[in-house]
Amino acid sequence: MSLFTPRANTLGRLALLALLAAPIVAVLFALLYARTPFYTNQAFPIQQPVQFDHRHHVADDGIDCRYCHDTVMTSWTAGFPPTERCMGCHSQIWNESPLLDVVRRSYFQGWPIRWKRVHRLPDFVYFDHSIHVNKGIGCLSCHGRVDQMPNLEQAAPLSMGWCIKCHREPNSQLRPMAEITNLRWTPPDDPSAFEALAKLYDLHPRTSCTTCHR
């Protein structure tokens, strides 16, 4: 009796095939994995030390993004609101809510609230909010429907490919300056409107490495 049954041949061939396919599968897996939210950190709501709800502040109260993120038009950082900004309203309303203990303590003791960063770019990336916003890229393009997030999460992959795609073809993301922070704005169907905007903003998106890496 021979040691190998006829099935062994098939098994052997399959094994060889698997051996050949393994590197390809591995590469494919890596490529796919890099595109999953798990790798890009998307869709992971992050719990903050204060239960701050963008849904309430943005959708219900209708506060403009720039009320808190006040340097978004002028600086590379959008600006994280100092505690005094919170207290501007919350010294009047909800001023005894236990939910805001942390905020009050920060304000009166002078220690910062330790927020957790949601949108993290690597240290070698020099992103500038002001130039994007001033050239008609709205908050929505990168941050998504913040008005629908109980806990803020990263909406876009923030990968270099994603950045570059828009730097090459930015028109579809343009919006009029009046709608720049409007998360519910619906873009017009007419592509010529975008072209007009690009002309208005005198758009020259750059793709040189040093645009972002210095």
């Binding site: 002028t74 920060s106 304000y107 957790k116 070698f124 020099y126 750059r206």
Partner: protein, 961 residues
Amino acid sequence: MSHPSDMPEHFDAELAPEEDPGGFTRRSFLQGLAASAGVAGLASCARPPAEQILPYTVRPPELRPGDALHFATSHAIGGWSMGLLVESHEGRPTKIEGNPQHPASLGASGVLEQLLVMQLYDPNRAREFRLGKDATSRHKFLSSLADRAKELERTGGDGLRLLIEPDASPMLAQMRARVLQRFPRARLHVFDPLGFDFAAQASRIAFGRVLEPVYQVSRADVIVCLDSDLLNQGPLSLRYAREFADRRVPQTGMNRLYVAEPTFTPTGTLADHRLPCRASRIGALAAGLVSQLGDITALSQLKLPVLPLDEEENRWCRAVAQDLASHPGRSLVVAGPRQPVEVQLLAIALNAALNNSGSTVALYELASDSPLQFEGLGPLVQAIESGAVDTLVIAATNPAFSAPADFELAAALPKVKNSLYLGYYQDETAALCQWFAPAAHLLESWGDTRGPDDSVALTQPLIAPLFDGLSEVELLAGLIGQAGGNSYQLLRDFWSATVQSQDFEREWRRWLSAGLVPGTAANPVEARFDWTSVQMLLSAWNPRKPEGGMEVIFAQDRKVYDGRFGNVAIAQELPEPITKVTWGNPALLSPALADRLGLRDGEVVELHCRGRTVEGPVRRVPGQADNCVVLQLGYGHRAAAMEIAKGIGFDAYRLRTSQAPGFDIGLRLRHTGRFEELALGQREFEVHDRPLVFSLTEDELRKGPKDLEKQRGPLPELYPPAEYPGHRWAMSIDLSRCTGCSACVLGCQTENNIPVVGRALVLRSRIMHWLRIDRYYLGPQERPETINQPMACQHCGYAPCEYVCPVNATVHSDEGVNEQVYNRCVGTRYCSNNCPYKVRRFNFLAYTGNKTPLEQMAMNPDVTVRARGVMEKCSYCIQRIERARIEARRQGKEIAPGAVVTACQQACPTQAIVFGDLSKPEEKVTQLRGDPRNYEVLHEQGTRPRTNYLARIKNPNPQLA
């Protein structure tokens, strides 16, 4: 670890170690290693820990998060004011520039200014107050000081002495006066190892009072420097350098510079005629000039001793004298500070006789303390020896290290019963004093400074004292029982009492914003030159005849100053502007002398002078006068707490006596047979007939020199040339202006977070500077001409580095900038090998990996901190270009001409470096492209560099040519 139970018992016993060594066995270690590797792999699946954001609770109104703020302040190293502009990122000073509004800076900064930030973040700086051997707190220290002061007050301050640095600060002057008020029997002593009072003495003889000269270099057609580094050392040198350089443009009436000096200085490198001349011969030269100018009646009154000159000196004197005589009122004679009173007097007399007073020389009367007002260190040491000093308060920088050797201050200090030292480091002096207080850094303290023309600048802190240090004012306030008063309050009170303004608050803010107190500048005074008393002194002049031995010259170091910057690593690693030595201070001698003595570079010799001995390596400097040795002061620290400076170089102070602080005769060298390799920033100083640098006269330039013209212009193209439709960034470097002072190198280093590698790696040519200054000697070794050539990435149009990078880590931008992408770089170093300019730098080690949090504070947040294994190089300060672009584009504008200033350009005192956009005809860099002096280095290689050079133009005297 258990063994299988069926194993024979003896087997187990045989294998078992006699004693359990404890910890791991090899097997369990390997098991653990495998397990942790596995777990580490798993860790990559987990989310990275969330980064924190800590916003302000109350944001300062002037602050826009993310944008740097600039604050005006000033320093007074050496006594006089220098205006600074400090960049601050969210309360953290990172970079120092010059204050464009300040008359001494005009926007430029020197080497010392650039070092200040790094000194602030020195991890070795002193942190603890000390009473006796016990560490204490600032509060306890000040209360003990107050107690001690009360005791002293009872005796009127008998036995109280203060040792301070000369400082023209009005507030300090007032505080010192108040100290003397409370303690009428106390005495102040002034000590500055690099200060000489010869000029002040000469002024007192010539004018009857101490007047401070300020030169109007821009008005001078003929400048004679007698052992003076006019353009590089001294409180106004940045301004002088700018004024001088602005007159080095051909066809616009160039000035002419004569320099007689013992060894090359940055000023000497720009000289039209340079005479190597021992420091002790300068007097004879000055006398020669006076006698050649005997036709001028005023000078013919002076009867000078006959000092023989050799033929060359004679010829030089004749030519210079004729040139001076034909430019009355438009010439300038400057004697270096270490030259004796007689030479200073001759310089003053020459300026007076040539009608330069009032035109190129402005004299200012000092409002209060003149350099001669206080006693020096000598009387203090005598008093200590006689037991007259009970309490000594030292606020001068490290006198035990820098005092003249014959004072034996280090031996005397322990004899003082109560000694207090306010020091920045636990240095040599700290070890000898009972009480110690850490000094606040300049960037941590309030104060004021004053220029020679009495104009006042304010000093404001950029950061609260990191280690609770005291400033000198606060220490003195403690002495007069105002320990609670901080320096801010003291300064404000002083100035509000001084100006008596209705609206002081508004003026105060305006001063702080400008860094200057307007209206404080005095007018120059008219002074009558007293020929009789000058003649009286000069007739008794008996210059020392050369005895046996060589001349030794003590020189101020251009990097560590008097030694106070010795512990700043970037200072140690900066190639010395002339010798290119890093990490050390070899004894400098002429090649001829070295050959006679059979000395190679780096050979260690014993230097004997007047019974004192030090040991150090030698280095030959072409163009140095024969038979003299130049020693740079401020090296060879011995204090253990100064980890960087300790043991670097040798201490030339130990050879320097109070009788001859400038230069002395009687030095002898002895071979030791040992050898110490010098860590050089540049190893080749010859051009080997290659067209790298050009030195021409105006006439030669007019004729159109063929070899220069060959180095520019279009080259054949095989492919259609690349299009650059937008900005075209470019640089132009003027070799006529560059003094080689190296401020740009440090400006670049602090701006771009360039690491320091240390002596061992400099020896392996792994220095990291993106910008270096190449120096080439042209002509014979004894009388060479030398040219400084700043060399950084040339941003070639056809860049050799780009062709060979296998991973596209170095690429060309659409604006012609050669970009280095750190994250793509895998470290093949092909680019560096293929770069004909050798300007690429590789991170062989993780230079930035182990920085302490304190050192990390110095990092510029706008530039990536590079890791090990990547290549880096000059980026044309791309972060500044992008910042300017975003500023402009945000407002819908184009980048305005002049909006981008690179770090090197900003620091440069002479504006030798010009940066801009070639697409704009109004940019200076574009206009300079059409200059007949314009050329490209290695043009024949076809690299099409974006950095071009302007050939040096000299203005020689036809008589000496």
